[in-house]
């Protein structure tokens, strides 16, 4: 009976049942020691390679270029005054917000369209639509780079055969901004699609049947049944994608390397150029720390969404 008790309430018998025997308390203590040991590698990893580097970044960002003296927030002040960096902030916002809106819309449309298909064909189409997301972006962006090539662009070849003048995809600042967003949307839309598809499948059919009996049109079903049921997933996916897209590196680095005239630099690529390529580690650390406020704000909301979701499904 005593043994059974320990099992039924793991970890807390010491707190719930007043421990009459010393063995009981010892078991509880041993169990938590064991649990601690099992999580120790995880804790070491998080503390040593995530938390420590983060605080080290804060420290680095307050040094001068040669890392010989402490200059407080001068690096941040310098960056904010610099026109190039102001442009980087704007470009990061345009890039992330533009790409996430497009990804969310396309993902939603595709998920909805897939959901209407009969189950048999669905898997085949889904497989094809997931290809962009399966290929590592650093690899697939090479294909886009080649498609956008100034003299051999295969897209321009198509445009010219239909009589449209060719486009300087990566040479003109605005087209370059468009191109990096396009590639990001191409890569990221399938992720939204599978998240939304999973959410759509979790909406009970009875709700749609009830709506149909009430005579709801397709749009009304979408507006009053699908959206409210998916709101949380949409929010989580959008916020998560905003974080990831703000912190993007691969696509811009390969496609334009920030050019032309720094028009497509975002935080990640600019930090790389300043910190690693130009060797100004402190300034580079300051640039990448600008990602942190965005991360902090959005992750609070993501976490709230996730815990809410967990509670909903648990209860």
């Amino acid at each position: 009976m005593v043994g059974h008790n320990i099992v039924a309430a793991p970890g807390i018998p010491a707190a719930v049942a007043p421990p009459k025997k010393g063995t009981l308390r010892r078991i509880a203590r041993r169990r938590s020691t064991l649990a601690f040991l099992m999580t120790l590698p995880l804790i070491i990893l998080i503390v040593g390679l995530v938390a420590y580097p983060f605080f080290y970044a804060l420290y680095l960002s307050m040094l001068n270029k040669r890392m010989t003296s402490f200059i407080g927030l001068d690096n941040f002040a310098f960056l904010l005054r610099r026109e190039t960096f102001q442009a980087v902030i704007w470009q990061s916002v345009i890039f992330a917000v533009g790409a996430v809106i497009a990804k969310a819309l396309i993902g939603f449309i595709l998920a909805h369209v897939l959901h209407t298909l009969p189950a048999k064909g669905q898997k085949k189409w889904r497989g094809m639509l997931l290809v962009p997301w399966v290929i590592p972006p650093a690899i697939s962006t090479l294909a886009w780079w080649w498609l956008f090539d100034p003299s051999y662009s295969a897209i321009n070849w198509l445009l010219m055969t239909v009589g449209v003048p060719s486009v300087a995809w990566l040479g003109d600042p605005n087209w370059a901004r468009f191109s990096v967003i396009l590639v990001n949307v191409w890569y990221g839309a399938p992720f939204f699609m599978i998240m939304y598809l999973a959410a759509l499948k979790s909406v009970p059919d009875q709700l749609y049947e009830a709506a149909a009996i009430d005579g709801a049109t397709g749009w009304q079903k979408l507006r009053f049944v699908t959206f409210p049921m998916m709101r949380n997933i949409i929010a989580i996916t959008v916020l998560f994608s905003l974080i990831v897209t703000f912190a993007n590196f691969d696509i811009v680095r390969i496609l334009t390397n920030g050019g032309p005239q720094d028009a497509t630099h975002i935080f990640g690529t600019y930090a790389f150029q300043v910190g690693i390529q130009s060797g100004d580690i402190p300034l580079g650390a300051a640039v990448s720390l600008f990602i942190f406020p965005i991360l902090a704000v959005f992750s609070v909301f993501v976490l709230r969404g996730v815990t809410k979701r967990v509670r909903e499904t648990a209860g």
Partner: protein, 300 residues
Amino acid sequence: MNRTLVATGAATAPSRRKIGSIKQERRWALIGAYVALAVFVVFFLTPPFHMLVTSLKSSAEIADFGSNPWTVRSPTLENYRDLLTQGNYVLHFRNSMIVTLSVVVITMVISTLAAFALSRMRFWGSTALATGVFLTYLVPETLLFIPLFQIIGGAGLYNNLFAMILIYPTLTVPFCTWIMIGYFSSIPRELDEAALIDGANHFQMLWKIFIPVALPGILAAIIFAFTVSWAQFLYPMAFLVSSDQMVLTVGIVSDLIRADTFQWGKIMAGALMAAAPPLLVYAFLMDYYIAGLTAGATKS
């Protein structure tokens, strides 16, 4: 909201034509669905298709302005042959494999143990740790690569493949732990009890019950760790400089672009072969992965 639904329903419900129009509406919806799908499939598959076409061309054909970039006149495998017989491509492939497989193993050990402890043994700070794990998952690599550059340099691991094996787990472990906590928590506690009554210790319980029962979740975690390690670009870009230490994502570009000569045929062939392992993994295990991934957000 309800009122509008009822009102429109009352107006149209009694007519008989409605049934036919629903059928027709559905047919049009299905046609619209296929059109939309076709458009997006073309958009999504164009780059890989063009990759394949280019990889099968000789340099002369690629450079010929008169030829159609979307078709091959005289297909050849010389790009593939060259990559596999000369240069460092095979080495990069091997490096990618070494890093990825090591990271998958390390990740699975760390996160299985942690997920087991976090899902079954409540201890002081365990909830905070679970939250911390999730938050770590959200930390992007672009935020930390500069301090890590200094740390790696200080540890004497700059331009060393093993630095990747050390750092990549920060990107894979948090999410893998998170999905496995979800899977482990869904295992009924009666199974633990049965095992404990039979005299099993915690490690036997983990090995003989949790891992077999949560196998779909473990597969999803392995695929995630594999994908992330195989695709990682920023860290090798920042920490690896010599070709013999490079992994595929940085190696292809660094070796095949010399000054202004782009060997596009070889670049595309190399890219296609680099994309093959994840494509194969997904072709066979897609369902497990999607189930694990979406469970993290929809059910957990």
